[in-house]
Point group: D3
Chain length 319, copies 6
């Protein structure tokens, strides 16, 4: 049974991924475990009051557990009271992927959509450069998130981020005729490409750490170097290589966010705004989608601690 | 003959609007007048070496003059050497409008496009509120610029700004499903509506000063008050009135740019970015469109003194 | 017995309001409750070592309890060791108000002082506008605090804040003759008037949350709208309505504190400084009044984490 | 005849102080002099079209001239057209002081008012320290301005600044009982005392430069050192000396304005606000007093380039 | 046995200083103590699982304990599992100094090096002033740290900070000939001299609190006053006294770090950079010296939360 | 005769470089030319009162002129009154280099000193990488300045900047043992290497403009790319290449000055400070060296508009 489908009063048997685990002391002065469980549909709090075994070393985050539990309610939120719990075993045939938040579109489909955009490019050099880099990066691109903990921190999140930006970019280029479409599309596709090497993520799209080069240089500088070298080896027009590098360099816009140069061409300016819109819409949808109407969220760290409002007119996107 | 069509070596007879006039002293120690002339296609420098009459009081900015001149060149720019000059006279039948920069679309057409967007709104209250305010504002809306000297500081510039934002808003709402389209469209249409009363502009869209209320409160606060009162008199759902006011309040995003609250609903977030994109694309196109390829502009004040680059791949939009 | 009167070594029977309650574990590994008790004279820490009953659900914050306790000392602070404790009961006839910090002046007296100031106004429009708004607001004004947790966060705190500001304003206007007294007084009386609708406070002056409009617009914008509408309905001279709105708008002075416009008239400038002085004197007196001479306070959050000093020459105001 | 009394169309004979002088070229291509004249009632522009003699070296700023002139008007401002002009001569018996802006109160009277405040002090050490420093400083205090070009940049401006602050301080101490009056008064009297040695001013209160110590240390540090040494020699209670030094140190409030420590005692906090109020009221009155009603000033540099508004309700103080 | 010499699997008997102590609850729901032990070679975590006696009041920070323990490992760090523990007793003859981090050079040697630098000074006034102040301060200088918790927060840390700065200063003066060596050396020796009176430190160089004058004025202002008075009593050339005071005043460079004036002489500029280099090298060496190669540190608070990198080429200095 | 050697009252015949030229109008209403002349020893103002020929087009900046002039004095500065003037002619055999400010050391000598430092490196990879890049850059390095208008804006200024930094680096590495000398030296030698391609300078070390890549990426990013590619082609240990790139990236320290990452290794930290010291000492020496003792400079733009002080103890370095 999926977390989204639980109802108060039921007793359920199900598998969940342990996202967090805290050992606490009850009012009766006994230790209990306070869990956060997760599947691809959401998260839920769970209490294990009667702990047996090595409390420190069992049911750790990242493991999947099978539980029997009753669904209760506390301060408007559902909660699980655990009756039985055990670790997942091979014969359970559990699909780990069901417990991981993942982009709403299929990676292969998204990758093909990128190829479709590349295919539309008219400038042969931009097309060749973009295609080469995307194909070299395909393996990781299929599952990498777009960030460690902020927007699109989900499996295949980077692909999803790029796809939505491409659609936005296409619409904007039809309105703002002073932008070279090929540059805009290539900028979108490549702007975060070295996030694939700045962070280390596992096959579930979960980032555990930044790489050495990621910490010492960052994905913007790494992306510029990669474009430089690939463009040289492909004998791309140096002006194009330079413009692409400038777009990567300027896409965070403010020096304190990592861009030592501000956009000097309209395509770089547009890239920045498209990136911001996609990130903000994602974060806002995530914060608001499970909130009751006419209520405010908790302060959202990545949104400058704003407390968002879900109005009577609010609509949500399922992702 | 239009400024854009002038060629070195020609002798031309034409009308121009005096945009600036400076009295200087020549190397032969004689006074001369250094003009900037303008028509709807651009600007050009002109020198009147042989001044007759009351040098201080003739040919002032805002007047139209008829000139006979030869077209010369100085440091890559065309220049006029004036042979004859006189003030325009009624019998010249000059159309003043030909000398004023004006939005590339017809005001009536743009106004109708706004009505078309309003007509698509599903929420009756938002529709009624927006329609009422737009109709009340029609007279000024037809010719007001969007600013005194920055983006869209042209006749009917505010209408043009709104139209392009509406088109962008429509495209974005089809991608970002977590935004209520009606709110986004209404926010776009009304976000600067009180610029009509914050600044005083003449029929050519030229702003001479800010109004008293404009200086003491500003168009954001004025817009909120107007929505409040109109919504009350139309008996609009208070939640809708409140959301519309919040969108106006937050659309400059940063407190130091006039928004004491940041966007707390996704529609307000989107409104801000659409506004920024349209202003920036306008300013960048203006700065780049007459620049040679592979050259940099002078520092542009409204773009944080950036020196923009016109690349080999640059495209321009005529406006 | 009041908290201020407790002495080490005594055994007391008294009522207190539970301000905070934390369940902890003793060195003997048993749960105990660590309370903060409050009455109108101050706060004190209390320990309940021998807990009976449902430790999670008894004696919660906001409840009044009757206790038998011995007064001990720990690190220069008095503490209560609880011997007996029970919830208050109806037959105890406890006056809840005795446990709530409250302004040192009677609300009715303060309200009359405001009327007295209004009565002195010479400009009929300012007088009418101010009187109308104050009378409409009287009910809430009698008990609202001036803030949720900062200065004057006490019952009738807003009234007290206004009264002290009025006295200061009167003194300053007699020195700085370039200010219109009526504007200054009206600005003081109305500057925070919509805090009554920005926050929700109970009859004890305790704020539990901000209202929807408070979060989306804030009391400054709400105050401007209210003045606009009231002034219109009273047919007040629009210049006066505008000046009053500007004073409300500018009284926080800095954009990042909520004022998109800085004061453009001397009365607005003065209003800001009077507001600051009153808030700072209140906070400093509160932080210093119970400190020993020649010692420093803890860092005070609302005073930029300054550690205030209580000198040998310090005097305190009881409030 | 005083500048304030001039009327369009009159011909006047009068003395003025040359405040500024610029050599320009007329439209007839001849040099003329553009003056700013000043007396204690104000400033006026004057043109000398027919220049005789060494145009570079005659009628320089700081000199007094006798003129015959007709009063004309240009863009709402009065102007003098000079018919005759000559330098002042000894036998003119001109009182230079009449041409210098000067505080509206007599220095001796103001000095006595300071002594009166000192006399009211109850703490013998504070009284002795303040009196000693004031008496040592009397000579310069009688004519020094409070600043080179900002607020109270007039003869005896520092005394006037202190007097108004003392009156404000007295009023505030009667409302805010948590401040030690003696500390507040002494802080006011001494806060800028070393401006007398930070800047060099002539007998007319005009500052020509900062002193070496003024530039390397500044009046705040210099004031602290002076209090330290005077207090030591008078055997003042060290706590009092320390508190006085802290008040001097903190009175600019923000590090970027010269205060490395923020106020840690309420008297220092109050001193800062009183200082600000007096400076701002002075600057605002100066900017507004000659402005027509319902008009805006030019941007005022010392007031963050605000354009102040003179409302229909504005009152001015003559100073 | 010293902490640096411990190896996994050993059983050791040794003395340690208790640096921190936390009472926690085990998974078996029993209290245990989690210690940080320290000696002059480093720090180690230790667990006491079987607690006897008054758990709150035994083995507190600052005490030395004798333990029997086995050395274990947890997450790459060594840990002690305590078998026996008792308080140090007089007959243990423990040298408290062995447990305190201390500068790597002998205080007397360092003090003599300062004298050596003073002896090289050519300007008699600078020499006399510096020597007098250093000799007056010798007692505290021998053991004071340079800070409460940041760089050189070790016994004799201030001396060590000064010595390294002197060596750097000497090298730089031989390269940058536009600096007066005597001023630079004197500036280095005296720049933090009043830290001796700004903080209260015990004989082990551990700071418990800031003094009253330290909090109200700070060591920069205190240092200026001390130089002023000493220079006056020694009849030092006032220019020299002034330059020395300016160097003290400007050495933190930025107003927000305590310097209201920026360096106006090159010697003051150099002093600032030498101070920064020495502090930063100290903090970086401390953070990196025990880190494995090719790994990153935790975020370091005093280094703007940077996560430092220990490269394959890193070298460390033992201190 | 050199500018430094001129004396009031003399009549001189000499060559000068025209640095600036302004056409002005005399009090007798005639045009004259106001020059700034320059040679390698300094600058001087000169007036040409009697202009013959095409005043706009003769004696322009960048040209060398031969003059006969008398040396006069105005406001403490020497000035030339020109009697004769003509353009330089080939047969004058003028050495243009004598009129250009140039580093005080011979470029070949400085280049050899760099090689000497490279030769001392122990790490073969760092040595090879540095040597390769320096040799590739030798041609431009011999004459390039370190900046367009700030510190070391002189012929061979970049070499001179590097040499002084190397000497400082060597001294600091002998004191701060936690830095790898090879990394520090290589960082110093290469930190600004791409300034050679960021700006375009002529053979006299005068920069006329920034390059396209310089404006779109900047020398930091360009330097990183160059190290990356050179290191790859030389098969340098990737860790070393990465560390070198990090040092380049972080050497401006603050994001707003172009460094998106702060130093994470001590060698990068040291590099930044050495760079700052050398630039600041250069700028301060330049500002102070011709100033009279006990006087203040004008505000120096590159030093945050500080007005530097030349004390009685000041020493200068001739450069």
């Amino acid at each position: 049974m999926l977390i989204k489908e639980l109802k108060v009063g039921e007793e359920v048997t199900s598998f969940f991924l342990v996202k967090a685990k805290n050992i606490k002391t009850s009012s009766a002065n006994k230790p209990y475990i306070d869990f956060t469980f997760q599947d691809k549909t959401g998260e839920i709090n769970a209490k294990l009051w009667d702990v047996k075994g090595d409390i420190e070393n069992i049911y750790n985050p990242g493991e999947i557990v099978k539980v029997l539990a009753s669904v209760t309610q506390w301060q408007n939120n559902l909660q699980l009271k655990l009756i039985k719990i055990r670790k997942v075993e091979p014969e359970d045939n559990v699909d780990y992927g069901q417990y991981i938040p993942v982009a709403p579109l299929d990676p292969e489909t998204m990758f093909n959509e990128i190829l479709f955009f590349i295919n539309k490019m008219e400038n042969r050099d931009i097309k060749k450069l973009t295609l080469t880099l995307v194909e070299e990066s395909k393996t990781k691109l299929m599952y990498y998130p777009a960030a460690k903990s902020n927007h699109h921190a989900i499996k295949s999140g980077l692909l999803y981020h790029v796809i939505r930006m491409l659609r936005t970019g296409e619409a904007l280029c039809s309105i703002y005729k002073n932008c070279n479409k090929d540059l805009v599309f290539a900028g979108i596709i490549l702007h975060d490409i070295e996030k694939l090497n700045e962070m280390h993520a596992n096959e579930f799209g979960i980032v555990d750490e930044y790489t050495k080069e990621g910490q010492l240089l960052g994905h913007i500088i790494m992306g510029i170097k990669r474009i430089e070298k690939t463009a040289e080896s492909l004998k791309i027009d140096p002006e194009i290589s330079l413009l692409m590098q400038h777009m990567i360099l300027a896409h965070h816009y403010e020096p304190e966010f990592g861009s030592p140069k501000k956009p000097l061409i309209p395509e770089a300016e547009l890239l920045h705004h498209i990136d911001m819109i996609d990130a903000r819409m994602y974060d806002m949808n995530k914060a608001l989608k499970d909130l009751p109407e006419e209520s405010f969220s908790e302060p959202i760290f990545v949104l400058d601690r704003r407390r968002l409002y879900r109005s009577k007119l609010a609509v949500s996107e399922e992702e």
